[in-house]
Amino acid sequence: MRMKNSEKVALDKVVALQSLRQQLGEELGQKITSGAELLDEQQRRESRWSSGREDWDASLGGGWAQGQLTELIAPEVSTGSGLVMAQLLARARQERRYVMLLDVGQGFSMEGFSANDLETLLWVGCASAKEAIEALDVVSRDENFFLFLIDLRDSEPSDWRSVRASQWYRVLGQLRQRESVALLFARQAVTAVAKQRLELKERLSWESLEGEREVLKASIRFQRSQVVAPECKRRPWEDCRGEILAVG
């Protein structure tokens, strides 16, 4: 197949840029870093809270992002989001930290959790996503809580779409200030404020009902997905990022 003209031009540009970068490196004798590399470096430096499992930490980039909102998308039933919640509660209990669960739909069932792990959990039953975010706005200011779980798995899109973007940003500001961890459990992307969006796509088998928890957790695969505002999809040209060279 013949290469399109536009693709050929783009490839030429990349080759020219690489040669320029090499030339600059030779002349200046210093380390040359691109803007994209700088961003990646900054991301690596961000605080992470270990999930308590090495395999998960590896796929999460060191753990759950602190001072950020992470969306955990379980598009279908029985993809293991409950196991993730159980692991989060166990980890927080182990580290003797308080956890708050904002449960929209109030479907939380204590049967699936160890009584130990529930000791530090404060449950808040919310009637709607809007109420949950208002509650999160209140509680995220409290320095006593480290981990916030927002369960929107049973919430309809019309429900969480009523939450204003400004509310999400206000909450994000407070999370950053406190370096807290916030996880939003949902069936689909909810907000563009989320720093990280992880998807659980693989459905667990019938045998998992009697499988060992640790084995089941090991089978969970997080898939990173691009954070795009669910309300307005980005247009193609907005994703094009120019290469900015920085001399370090």
Binding site: A74, V77, G82, S114, L122, A135
Partner: protein, 503 residues
């Protein structure tokens, strides 16, 4: 064995009296801060207004007690005429008492402007120095007082009166030279009746010391009960227990608005001032605040009272103000406010200290505040720490308070180490289930419909059959619906429901 007059712990028992002469006048003068100007307190409830009390500056101008106000003004045109103020006297009394409590814990409010203190908790060497210090502290807050120290409350009172009459600030009627000191005091210093004074003067007894030297039997036979009582007082033989002031009723401020107040800002302004003043007063006694009592009087005759409790004793003005202001914000004021009263309930400050490696609530006040706001937002029955109930009925739990401290993780207790986590639907979903024998084969419901490829059950349970109307019985099935996931079905008396799903 300890001697009479000596406390059990070795400290000598003694008493002090703090006397604030012309207390009603001082309460007013202190409030308006006219110490140097001539001021008179007048009673205009009578047909003709008369002077009840006057300060030294007014006395120098010729103003005297019981003089007509008009006459007093004629003598001293610059005289400031004041009326007695009940709220001013209350505040002054509280201030006196609180300051005295900074000296010793046992204080009796004997009468307005006169306090009796039990000094047995302090070593004798420190009495005079403490007395001077307390007098200085009272002077700073606008009181001129005399302090008397003696073996008994009566002797201490005589000493205080003597101190004032002699122009001194502090008198100590020491037991070793008591009689000699009493020799220098006139009979009036013992506040005896005119008749007794006159009879003693006729006998040639001019001083208290001379009277104390008489024989008890001679006094009893000639002067009767009144004479004996005075003799017992002067010889230190008359003792009485003190009615100690209760600290709980002390820290209170009251304000009557000159005009009716409708906005919260004015109210908060006054309350903020109260909080600052009361906090420093509580601090002086080495205590902290455990609760705040708020009383608002409305113009329509109604009133609102509330006790705002704190999770632990504290003295942070900002936190106390936030507590009161956040409560006022939520309060619907049905009428204009006429008066406001604020009282601090004191308590011992927190003595506990967390373990070095302990974990728990970092900020209890913030936590309590968060809880209040959350409960207001979602309702009181939807916030709490989840704990199991003593029941086999699935899905029921109780909500309790979150623990203040988090203990180390104990051995793993209870289930589950296997399986998935169940999440229930907010309300169970009615379903039509096709059966093959007893086993579910196909399901139709608004949430999930399809062929059941795997099923496990029935898991039967029942309970509360011993409570009429509350009995329950159910059969659970765990099912896998083709390409849809794992669910829990419940069959109860032939009706099927989708209870939740496994995650």
């Amino acid at each position: 064995m300890h001697r009479i007059g000596e406390a059990v712990d070795g400290n000598v028992s003694g008493y002090a009296v703090i006397w604030c002469p012309d207390f009603r006048l001082q309460a007013v003068v202190r409030r308006v801060n006219w110490r140097e100007d001539p001021v008179a307190l007048v009673d205009d409830q009578q047909r003709q207004s008369i002077v009840l009390a006057r300060n030294v500056a007014a006395s120098r101008e010729g103003v005297d007690v019981a003089m007509k106000t008009v006459q007093a003004l004629a003598r001293c045109p610059a005289l400031r005429v004041e009326r007695p103020s009940a709220s001013g006297e209350l505040a002054a009394g509280r201030c006196l008492l609180e300051t005295a409590l900074g000296w010793v814990p046992g204080v009796e409010e004997t009468e307005p402007g006169l306090l009796t203190l039990d000094l047995s908790t302090q070593v004798e060497e420190a009495w005079l120095e403490s007395g001077r210090r307390i007098r200085g502290r009272l002077y700073d807050v606008g009181f001129e007082v005399a302090v008397g120290v003696g073996e008994t409350p009566s002797l201490a009172r005589i000493a205080a009166l003597a101190a004032w009459q002699k122009g001194g600030s502090l008198w100590h009627l020491h037991r070793d030279n008591r009689i000699e000191l009493l020799d220098g005091l006139p009979l009036t210093a013992a506040e005896t009746g005119e008749d007794l004074n006159e009879r003693l003067r006729l006998w040639g007894i001019e001083t208290l010391g001379a009277f104390a030297r008489l024989q008890r039997e001679a006094v009893a036979s000639r002067l009767g009960e009144e004479g004996v009582k005075l003799w017992l007082r002067l010889t230190g033989r008359l003792r009485r227990p003190l009615k100690l002031a209760r600290l709980e009723q002390l820290f209170e401020e009251h304000h009557d608005f000159d005009y009716e107040v409708c906005d919260r800002e004015s109210l908060l302004f006054v309350l903020n001032r109260f909080i600052k003043g009361l906090s420093s007063r509580v601090e002086q006694t080495g205590r902290a605040v455990i609760a705040v009592h708020l009383l608002i009087s409305y113009a329509d005759g109604g009133c609102y009272a509330k006790r705002l409790s704190l999770p632990e004793p504290l003295l942070d003005e900002m936190v106390l103000f936030r507590l009161v202001s956040s409560h006022l914000e939520a309060l619907e004021m049905k009428a204009a406010v006429e008066a406001v009263r604020l009282r601090f309930e004191p308590s011992d400050p927190v003595a506990s200290q967390r373990q070095l490696f302990g974990a728990g609530l970092r900020n209890r006040f913030q936590f309590e505040d968060t809880m209040k706001r959350l409960r207001r937002l979602v309702g009181t029955d939807r916030v709490g720490a989840i704990r199991s109930l003593d029941s086999h009925l699935p899905g029921v739990f109780q909500l309790v308070s979150l623990p203040d401290e988090i203990e180390e993780v104990r051995e793993h207790c209870g289930p589950p180490t296997i399986g998935l986590v169940l999440r229930r639907y907010a309300t169970a979903i009615q379903a039509r289930v096709m059966l093959q024998g007893e086993r579910p084969l196909q399901i139709h419901s608004p949430r999930v419909s399809g062929i059941i490829v795997n099923a496990s059950g029935p898991w039967r349970s029942e309970g509360d059959w011993w409570h009429r109307g509350r009995e329950w019985m159910r059969s659970e099935w765990d099912v896998e619906v083709m390409k849809q996931g794992l669910f829990r079905l419940v069959e109860c008396r032939g009706e099927w429901e989708v209870e939740g799903y496994y995650e």
